[in-house]
């Protein structure tokens, strides 16, 4: 009988292996069935809401939208027809699927939805504040990570559909907040952070360099200041407020500020250094460019220019904003932004909700406090009248693009208020061609947010 038992053992083994396979198959089908349905021809999509319940996208196509209803965040929300791939809807279309293996496909009345953190009304006001000038603005709660404002111009109302993609202006079908741009002097915040990390606050504040309008660096190139008469002898606080290029060029050449260490701190902060392929981080599936810069030699023009925020340095507005959160929180940890606050499945049951996440420590909390103080002082001294009513820390920037032919204006900052913790970044393109100022957009943004959000 032993011999026959052996046969039975082998048969059991074969059958058990098969049954394990079947169980794995059922689990796989159960978990991935929603994805399979996404590839089906008949599928029914749910809705996307803003934080106040405004419909931003309706997969069933039944909602009637007013004209230009979604022009403010249309290029962030996107749609499901496959043209706008890096958008909320197309990256999270699975969550809108009115299907579950248990209840099957619900063609009408399915409750699958995405509830975003966006404030549609405030976005609209910010959008209007650009007066049609190209640019973008992003703002979020630096304590929780909710993205409240994320608008970008030029834009179109995607609810009305779009044809003739070739005729659209470039940048229409994407949210510029997610893509790299020249940061201008807002880059100096990163340089200050690096300097504080390497030297410590005392050494940095003891340094002073003079500016005579232009500075011939040790490599023999001229670093010009926007003030052709120069700023004279300055310390770091004054240099930040004046946004003085020669000061920062001399700082980079300083012996106490070795380039090797700058590189490592930049890397910590998320820069890709000396590599064209910048990589991505993602926010609810939406790919955002990582910052990148070129640093070779402390005496080289390109490297110094990089630390000042021109030339090869490229940062996305959303990343500039995230660094502000690490400063404003005084922790050195970025608050990770998110767009989706919760989603519901086809039966209306909440199946995903977000929890605030923080990055690893990218610089010390001492550095964060000192930088915060520098920015707050700058805000108090130079912006208290322009953006009145808020205690803000800011840094402006002017970025030369198109080989110096155009200048973009940037403004990054945060509100120092524990009940209104907003960090923001505003980019205004071709600033010399308009009367709109980044400060006025910031004022509109903060006003509209404080109305609806507290």
């Amino acid at each position: 009988m032993k011999s026959i038992k052996r046969c039975q053992g082998l048969m059991s083994l074969v059958l058990i292996l098969f049954i394990i396979g079947m169980v794995a198959l059922v689990v796989k089908i159960y978990r991935e069935s929603s994805f399979y349905m996404m590839n089906s021809d008949d599928l029914s999509l749910g809705k996307v809401y803003d934080r106040n319940g405004d419909v931003l996208f309706d997969g069933s196509g039944k909602t009637e939208f007013e004209d230009n209803y979604l022009i403010d965040v249309g290029n962030l929300i996107g749609d499901d027809n496959g043209q706008m791939t890096n958008t909320l809807v197309s990256r999270n279309i699975k969550r809108l699927n009115n299907y579950s293996f248990n209840s099957g496909l619900v063609s009408s009345g399915g409750k699958a939805s995405i509830h975003t953190t966006l404030d549609h009304e405030a976005n609209r006001k910010v959008y209007d504040a650009f007066y049609g000038q190209d640019g973008c603005a992003v703002a979020y709660n630096y304590k929780t990570g909710e993205i409240l404002i994320c608008t970008s111009l030029p834009s179109i109302d995607v609810t009305k559909g779009y044809e003739n993609i070739e005729e659209l202006r470039s940048g229409t079908l994407m949210s510029k907040n997610m893509y790299r741009t020249v940061p201008g002097s807002t880059q100096k915040v990163s340089t200050v952070i690096a300097a504080l990390e390497i030297m410590g606050a005392d050494t940095l504040f003891s340094k002073s360099f003079s500016c005579s309008g232009t500075y011939e660096n040790k490599g023999g190139n001229n670093i010009d200041c926007h003030n052709i008469y120069g700023h004279g002898e300055q310390n770091i606080q004054q240099a930040v407020e004046n946004s003085c290029n020669p000061f920062f060029a001399q700082l980079v050449e300083d012996e106490d500020f070795p380039l090797k260490k700058i590189k490592s701190i930049y890397k910590e902060m998320g820069y890709t250094i000396n590599d064209d392929n910048c990589g991505y981080f993602d926010i609810d599936g939406i790919k955002c460019d990582k910052a990148s810069t070129t640093l070779n030699d402390p005496y080289e023009f390109k490297t110094q220019w990089g630390c000042i925020g021109q030339g090869d340095t490229l940062v996305s507005p959303i990343q500039l904003m995230m660094w502000q959160s690490a400063i404003a929180n005084e922790t050195g940890k970025m608050t990770m932004p998110y767009l989706i606050s919760y989603t519901t499945d086809v039966n209306g049951k909440e199946n995903y909700s977000v929890e605030t996440e923080f990055s690893d420590r990218i610089f010390s909390s001492n550095t964060a406090s000192t930088t915060k103080q520098i920015l707050l002082t700058n805000g108090e001294n130079n912006y208290s009248s322009l953006i009145s009513g808020y205690t803000i820390g800011v840094k402006s920037g002017t970025a030369q693009v198109n080989e110096g032919r155009n200048e973009n204006s940037l403004l990054v900052g945060f509100v120092e208020d524990k009940d209104f913790p907003i960090a923001f970044c505003i980019l205004l393109e071709d600033k010399n061609n308009t009367s709109v100022k980044t400060e006025s957009i910031a004022k509109v943004m903060l006003d509209s947010l404080s109305e609806t959000y507290s």
Binding site: M1, K2, S3, I4, S103, G104
Partner: protein
Amino acid sequence: MNTLNLVLCAVAAASLDICALVLILTAYQERNTGKKRWNRMTSFMELADYSVSYPLDCDEILIGRHASADIRLPDLSVSRYHAIMTVSNGVWTITDIGSKSGIFVNGNLIKTIQLRENDVIKLGNRRLVFRRKGVN
């Protein structure tokens, strides 16, 4: 999905479930009658040692010292694979499969022989009695 569909599917699946269950039970029932039939076919025989009785459950019974033998006799005088017992027409036959010490049935050294009830089989130093079941 309408309710009717669901109910009917459930009914169909349930009837199939019950059917499968009944058939498994049938198989178990047959296992019992199968045992009886096997005993009848093999004339209710078994091999017995002093204290242990070895059932003859399949048509080729290997006797030897080795762990894989159907009837294992852990005794050095028994070869690893000593003898094989086969059944045919209800008659059991024992055959030597190259043992060192040979098989003695009722004292006679044999190569192969049809066994009769109460034959004494000697393998090495071990003696086994070929007997009817239930006789002690």
